[in-house]
Amino acid sequence: MNTRRIDQFEKELHDPALTSLLRDAFDGDPALAESHGRSERIMRKVLASGIRPARPAVRWAPLAWAFGASAAAAGLVLALVLGLLQSPRGPGNLVDNHVAPQQRQEQQVNPKQLADRHLPVPEERQHDGWQNPAPEGSVVQNPDDILPKHPDDDTQENKPTEENPVRVAEALYAAGDAANAVGDYETAFEAYQASYEAMPTPDAILSSAKMLEHLADAPGGTEG
């Protein structure tokens, strides 16, 4: 509202008679005379009250917004981190190699599926699947049955033939996977070693080394 309009308002309200009447009403009133000592009395009351100047009022709205935004940002970061950890391609999966054997024994595991999941399949194995893949729900073949026998045991069927070393190596590798899946690291190690001997592959040597680590970590770890 501009000053001119306010001045106009005040002119409209101007009333000398009422002003005079009101001034007269309080004229000569001793109670309105300057009182000496009133300031001291007021200061005494202020000091005696024990009241101290309070801090200025905090503007809560900006603080509330800042807190809410920070909490939301922190929640978002946490969700991203947790999502990353839980991702199938994330690091969480690599850590989960020490699953209790009891948990895995009840699973119906297809060795071929194990091979595909844990390690990238070498090119030689990709085109050559199982001749007789295990049907769904079937019991896993006992790895001991397909492990190479003792060298003294030279039955024909157990000898790795030179005609199909790839197939033999794959079978032994799959057996190793099956043993690893149920937590039988010793059997798995022997299977991976045999697979390597049948046909040296990086996967076989790596898996063997991994089984050795497991065996070393196990309580009363074996040498070797």
């Binding site: 308002f9 009422l18 005079s20 009447l21 309080f26 009133d29 109670a31 202020v46 100047p53």
Partner: protein, 195 residues
């Protein structure tokens, strides 16, 4: 903060200087007290209300701003305290006749003194019959000569709202005074009319 004596005193008081706060008290206590007295018509109660006002000012010292003066904030607090006191009292406040005209006038005759006393008593009684905020508006505008902007700050309303209150209060007070005196309101003598 406005660069004024009051602003400098306020800044020092906010930093803990009690002497600066006392200087502010000395600067404004008379005006605050006078307002309280005119509202409640009781000097002892007005003293208490005035002290309470400065107590609250001290409590909220760090929030005060001399923009342009802290007196409007103080008058607002004082006015609200007076209104609360009047409401607590319930009945209309009575004018302390003993306090009126204790000092004899050198210029008026005894009859004139008596007339003046009667006039004052009636006008004050009519003032007390106004609503508290109307009373504040009419006292500040006509008696103290304050601008509408100051009244708006004390009554926590806009300038138009302050104008409306002053206008209503003026008409109502005149009606009440005329009801008491009839159409011939005994106005003060011309020498006292400063307008």
């Amino acid at each position: 903060m406005i660069d004024s004596e009051e602003g400098r005193l306020l800044a020092r008081a906010q930093r803990g200087d009690l002497l600066a706060f006392e200087s502010l008290v000395q600067m404004h206590q008379q005006r605050v007290y006078a307002h309280c007295y005119r509202m409640v018509s009781n000097s002892a109660e007005a003293e208490d209300l005035c002290a309470e006002t400065f107590l609250r000012a001290y409590q909220h010292l760090k929030s005060l701003r001399a923009d342009p003066s802290i007196v409007h904030w103080m008058l607002r607090v004082a006015n609200n305290l007076c209104i609360s006191a009047l409401r607590k009292r319930g009945t209309r406040p009575t004018v302390e006749l003993d306090e009126v005209h204790e000092l004899p006038s050198d210029t008026l005759t005894p009859e004139e003194e008596l007339l003046k006393k009667d006039r004052q008593e009636v006008v004050r009684k009519c003032l007390d019959m106004l609503q508290p905020k109307e009373k504040t508006a009419v006292l500040m505008f006509y008696l103290e000569g304050r601008p509408l902007e100051d009244i708006a700050k004390v009554l926590e309303c806009g300038v138009a709202g302050a104008k409306s209150r002053v206008h209503r209060a003026r008409h109502r007070l005149k009606a009440l005074v005329m009801a008491e005196f009839g159409e011939d309101v005994p106005l003060p003598t011309r020498e006292e009319d400063e307008v």
